[in-house]
């Protein structure tokens, strides 16, 4: 499959009239990792001789992204998402292949390029100065040479959008993770970058904060026409806000297209596990199949397209004494399997 050509045509499909903003061609990143063997004797031997294994974190990835798109870049842990983002942002130099963003090669014109992008790392805060939010804003105003007018406008906009007025005077180290993430987002956007890279921005946040964060991202994309690339391994992030999805697994690109098309790959069967208070003999039903039958713990599976979850739950809880239940969420791994 020539992903490059496919991707380009997708780009036109999705309304990209001009040349794509981001062009990634045959991108590869290979690491050399020392092979570690267990056992004392081998550790001793490693004092003298070492073996290296090549790990291909990213292999032959190609895609194009147009201005204003909101792209979800998803994959399981270790699939190569962060590595791709690092190459897109100029932190990492590719082993081979090319990345061209708005005519620039990220790692080559680093200073100029940095002015045009904003980046938020989900697990790391970039606010390392021990200053209150306000002062940090001022600092970034200086760094990115933001005009007074743009600065005022954006500070007001983001303070309101992200609901930061409560903690704008608090020193950074006293903020919670959710607040820090908001702050990071605001700072990334202050200089009105053309592109916003988000590397797992919802990780570690509680359900409510995650939801809010997704809404912010969508809002930013809409209001400021910023091109957003969002990496995550949480399916919900994608479902709510992205129109286009790129799926990567073990360094390779598996899927690149619209969300609707992507949904087709989701497994149709949902599993629910029930824990019963007493020993129960689960009756057979048209609605579902029993796939695991233990005395107190039973798992059933049903076709989402034919039966509603709420009906299944109602049926079982009405007939039996259910102590607890859990619903198995679709995981990336299942979708990956389905696509391959």
């Amino acid at each position: 499959m020539d992903f490059w050509a496919e991707s380009l045509s997708k780009h036109w499909e999705l309304g990209g009239i001009t040349m794509p903003l981001i062009e990634v061609r045959d991108l590869c990143k290979t690491y050399e990792i020392q092979k570690r063997k267990d056992g004392f004797k081998n550790t001793l031997l490693s004092l003298f001789k070492r073996e290296y294994v090549k790990k291909e974190a990213v292999k032959d990835i190609s895609f194009t992204i147009g201005k204003g798109e909101l792209v979800g870049y998803i994959g399981a842990n270790g699939a190569g998402k962060s590595t791709t983002i690092k190459m897109l942002s100029g932190i990492l130099i590719p082993t081979s292949g090319s990345v061209i963003v708005n005519g620039m090669v990220p790692y080559k014109n680093r200073k100029e390029y940095s002015m045009k992008i904003g980046i938020v790392f989900g697990q790391r805060s970039q606010l390392n100065w021990d200053l209150p939010m306000e002062d940090t804003f001022q600092l970034y105003k200086r760094i990115y040479k933001i005009s007074d007018e743009m600065f005022k406008r954006n500070v007001a906009f983001y303070t309101e959008l992200l609901d930061m007025s409560d903690f704008i005077k608090t020193p950074i180290r006293q903020l919670s993770l959710g607040q820090k993430m908001k702050a990071n987002l605001a700072i990334a956007m202050l200089h009105e970058p053309e592109i916003l890279y988000l590397d797992e921005p919802t990780i570690g946040l509680d359900v409510i904060s995650k939801d809010r964060m997704r809404k912010f991202i969508k809002e930013i994309n809409k209001e400021k026409s910023t091109t957003v690339i969002l990496t995550t391994h949480d399916m919900n992030d994608i479902e709510e806000i992205c129109n286009r999805i790129i799926l990567i697994d073990k360094g390779k690109l598996l899927f690149d297209g619209e969300k609707e098309k992507f949904k087709q790959f989701k497994p149709v069967n949902t599993e629910v596990t029930f824990e019963f208070a007493t020993d129960v003999n689960l009756e057979k039903s048209e609605r579902y199949n029993i796939i695991r039958d233990h005395p107190l713990l039973k798992t059933i599976s049903f076709n989402k397209q034919q039966t509603r979850l709420v009906d299944v739950i109602t049926e079982i809880t009405q007939k039996y004494d259910v102590k607890d239940m859990s619903i198995k969420d679709n995981t990336i791994e299942e979708i990956v399997k389905a696509i391959q």
Partner: protein, 267 residues
């Protein structure tokens, strides 16, 4: 261009401001540093007090040597301690990435980020030692001497800065950097004493291969009118400046090389 200079100066100001704001914390920092370096100094003093002479150097001459070491280390540490000592941690946690995604020169940014006023303690101790020594040795400074002093301190400080780079930049390649650091540190501690007391091989090492002799020994000789040492040459004191510039340049290049390796291999 001027814009950037002003920006970096502002960073430094902000860093210093936040550092001094917590006065108690700052005070404790200074005390700890004085205690740390004071211990080495006191041990040196005890030795010299008991044994009268170390080589051909009397206690006050040793004090001058000590003051040179202390002052030049303080100058280098003020700008580069945080920069390099935090480097292994920043590489491990990926914090170094932050530096690569800003529209700033990474080196200048890290210097300003790490500038520390904590070295005031060292400078004070060093200056006190210097003046005590000069007073007791009855050294008189002509205008030429004062100029030399400034140049020599400048050159030595550059050597000290380069030591930071050579000691810590290897952490781009080695996960555990202690070995390199310790060796360089040990070799440098040779120069706490007048290197003329060591055998020829070591003096060669400290003059031509790891030029730590140029940090305090050879410069001190200028003011003490001494010429001991197996390889002594009248040009040595002033050679300090050349050595400093060369090593500082090499140290800078090494750091840049390490940084580009970081970009190729990630963390």
């Amino acid at each position: 261009m001027l814009d950037y200079i002003k920006l970096y100066l502002d960073f430094s100001k902000i860093k210093l401001k936040t550092q001094i704001e917590s006065r108690l914390s700052f005070f404790i920092l200074i005390i700890c540093k004085i205690v740390g370096f004071g211990a080495t100094g006191i041990m040196l003093w005890v030795m010299v007090d008991k044994f009268d002479f170390i080589g051909e150097w009397n206690p006050y001459e040793i004090l001058l040597l000590f003051s040179f070491n202390m002052i030049t280390y303080a100058i280098a540490g003020c700008f580069f301690y945080d920069f390099f000592v935090q480097l292994p941690k920043r590489i491990r946690t990926g914090e170094l990435d932050e530096v690569l995604i800003k529209p700033l020169n990474p080196t200048t940014y890290l210097i300003c980020r790490g500038v520390s006023a904590g070295y005031l303690g060292n400078v004070t101790v060093g200056l006190i030692a210097f003046f005590i020594s000069v007073a007791n040795l009855h050294i008189i400074f002509s205008l030429k001497d004062i100029l030399m002093l400034i140049l020599l301190i400048f050159g030595s400080s550059l050597i000290q800065c380069s030591v930071f780079s050579f000691s810590y930049t290897p952490s781009f390649w080695l996960i555990s950097n202690n070995g390199v650091r310790n060796i360089i540190g040990d070799l440098k501690s040779f120069s706490d004493y007048p290197i003329a007391i060591y055998n020829k091989v070591i003096q060669f090492l400290l003059t031509f291969m790891f030029p730590f002799g140029f940090i305090s020994f050879y410069p001190s000789q200028y003011f003490l009118n001494k010429s001991d040492g197996a390889f002594f040459n009248t040009s040595f004191p002033i050679l300090t400046i050349l050595v400093g510039l060369t090593l500082a340049f090499a140290g800078y290049k090494f750091w840049i090389f390490g940084l580009s390796h970081y970009q190729s291999t990630g963390n």
